[in-house]
Structures are given as structure tokens and as C-alpha cells.
């Protein structure tokens, strides 16, 4: 009895589904297309989610490179530069310069 009742209800329902009007069918198809568009947009969004992560990774690599390069010891000066430094720093030479007659050097320059 119960089966007959349910079978009849199901048959009536299926009949009403099959006889849906064209306008409703069309609107349902449009709704489905919008839902499928959402899948496409979702996939595109997921791809863009990784873009900031990629940017951060590149920035981190650049930052690490800068830190490592700044930590290196500066290049050592050549032998000529060392000689100049010694001459300038030599206090005896400075004293010698002060003891000389500056006026003599000026006269010599005019000759």
C-alpha cells in the first residue's frame, strides 16, 4: 500500500518534471552556466594566489644575496698604495719638511 502511494507520488513528480516549460528550462541552463563560470574563476583565483608567494620568494632570494655580499671583506690595497700610506704616516718626513727653509724653496721656484 505504502509502495503504491510512493510510486504514484514519484510518477506524478517525474511527469511534472518532464513537462517543465521552455522558459524555466532555459533559466536553469543559464544558472548552470553561471555556476560553471564560477569554477573557471575559482581556478584563475587559485593561480593568482600563488603570485604573491612567488614574489616573496624572489624578494627573499634577492635580500639574502644582498646580505651575503655586504658581509664580505673589502679588497686589500695594492703595494703602491701601501708605500704612499707609509710616506704620509712617517712623522720623521713631516719634521724634515718643517725644518727646511721655505723661503729658499720659493726663491728656487722663481729661478
Amino acid at each position: 500500500m505504502s509502495d503504491n502511494f510512493e510510486d504514484k507520488a514519484r510518477a506524478l513528480f517525474e511527469d511534472s518534471v518532464e513537462r517543465l516549460d521552455a522558459r524555466t528550462r532555459s533559466k536553469l541552463t543559464q544558472a548552470r552556466n553561471r555556476a560553471l563560470d564560477e569554477v573557471q574563476k575559482g581556478a584563475a583565483r587559485r593561480r593568482w594566489i600563488w603570485a604573491p608567494a612567488g614574489g616573496f620568494a624572489v624578494a627573499a632570494v634577492v635580500a639574502v644575496g644582498i646580505v651575503l655580499s655586504s658581509g664580505r671583506t673589502p679588497p686589500s690595497p695594492g703595494p703602491a698604495a701601501l708605500e704612499d700610506l707609509e710616506i704620509v704616516a712617517d712623522s720623521e718626513n713631516l719634521d724634515l719638511l718643517q725644518d727646511q727653509d721655505v723661503e729658499f724653496y720659493a726663491w728656487l721656484d722663481e729661478q
Binding site: R10, L28, L36, V39
Partner: protein
């Protein structure tokens, strides 16, 4: 066939990517497959879902809105889930939308009761053509079927919400008790109770007419 038309429109850009670059095709292929599967699933249930929403809401546009919302939510949040999970998830979303709509109507009805001068914009008889009788002659058996369905719809619409859901999911959608419980978000015992009460009430009401 509407399903193939919509899928062609959807897969256009992805197909182009596949032709341009074979490497990227492997990345896009799962999305294509997912879209195809979702298209098939939605096409298989949309008309029944609309009729069930129509019975619950007694309003074409509200029923269409509810089905469309359910489709969008499923695609947006659960599209990547295994396809076996889609049916109970879809009907769960749809039932929530139907309940939201019914709640909104109750609130509107209360407001309208306080402001009797205003007319609700969601008047169920807003479509003037709906009231126009169809002049095409119906065969007698079709007429009898339509009348029987109308009686069933009225009786179903008068059932409490949970009993209505249980009956429609079990009988119209052909779900078993476990699937119905998943779709309704309740225990299997509750489904059996709601369903049994629904059948009992409907048989009492329709006994004479059927």
C-alpha cells in the same frame, strides 16, 4: 543539447591554452574534467531540484533563485570535492536556501501586517500570465494527472519543513536514508521519523482523492 552548449562556452579559453602549449594542458586538464563532471551533475538534477523548490516555496522565481544559489555555492565551495559528495551537498545547500527564503517571507508578512497600506513586492501572483488559463485542450488523462499533482503539491506544501524535505529527498530524489540524513544534516533516525510522519499525514489527506 543544452549541456554540450554550456560546456563548449566554458571550455573555450582552456582549450586554446591546450593547443598553444602542451605543457600547460596537463595543468588545465583537471579543471576541464571537473567542469565537465559538474556540468553533467547539475544537468541531471536541475529540473527535479527546481520542482522540489517550487513545491516548497510555491513561487517560480523564488524557486529559480534558490536553485541558482545552490548551484553557485556548490561550484564555488565544493566543486573540488569528489563528485560522489555533490548530491547531498547540493540538496543541503538548496534546503538552506529554501528555509532562508521562507524566513524572509515570514518577516515580510509580519511587517506587512503592521503596515497594511503597503503591498508586498514579492506577491506570489505577480505574473499576470500565470493566471491565464491554457486554451490548448488537455487530454482527459493528462488533466487527471495534473489535478492529482496539484493535490499532492498542496498537501506537501502544508507539511512541516523537515517532513517535507525528508519525503521529497526520499521519494522524488530517490535517496536512501543515509544520503537523506547527509543532505538534511541530521541523524538517520530523525530522517526515518520525519519520513514516516510525512507519509502518514499525506496518506490521510490524499486517501480519498487517491
Amino acid at each position: 543539447m543544452p549541456a554540450s552548449v554550456s560546456l563548449a562556452a566554458f571550455t573555450g579559453p582552456l582549450a586554446t591554452l591546450r593547443w598553444d602549449d602542451g605543457t600547460r594542458a596537463s595543468v588545465e586538464e583537471p579543471i576541464l574534467e571537473q567542469a565537465r563532471a559538474l556540468d553533467r551533475f547539475l544537468a541531471s538534477i536541475e529540473k527535479r531540484a527546481f520542482r522540489m523548490a517550487r513545491i516548497a516555496l510555491r513561487h517560480d522565481e523564488d524557486a529559480l533563485d534558490s536553485v541558482q544559489d545552490a548551484m553557485l555555492q556548490l561550484a564555488r565551495h565544493y566543486g573540488r570535492r569528489p563528485s560522489e559528495e555533490w548530491r547531498p551537498l547540493f540538496y543541503r545547500i538548496l534546503q538552506n536556501r529554501i528555509r532562508d527564503c521562507q524566513r524572509r517571507r515570514r518577516v515580510q508578512a509580519r511587517i506587512m501586517a503592521w503596515l497594511p497600506g503597503l503591498k508586498s513586492q514579492d506577491d506570489p501572483i505577480a505574473d499576470e500570465f500565470a493566471a491565464v488559463p491554457d486554451r490548448a485542450p488537455l487530454p482527459a488523462d493528462q488533466l487527471a494527472t495534473d489535478q492529482a499533482m496539484q493535490v499532492l503539491e498542496r498537501s506537501l506544501a502544508d507539511l512541516p519543513g523537515r517532513q517535507q524535505e525528508a519525503f521529497m529527498l526520499r521519494v522524488f530524489e530517490g535517496m536512501d536514508v543515509a544520503q537523506t540524513a547527509a543532505a538534511m544534516g541530521c541523524s538517520e533516525g530523525s530522517v526515518k521519523t520525519h519520513y514516516s510522519r510525512a507519509v502518514h499525514t499525506l496518506r490521510e489527506q490524499l486517501g480519498v482523492a487517491w
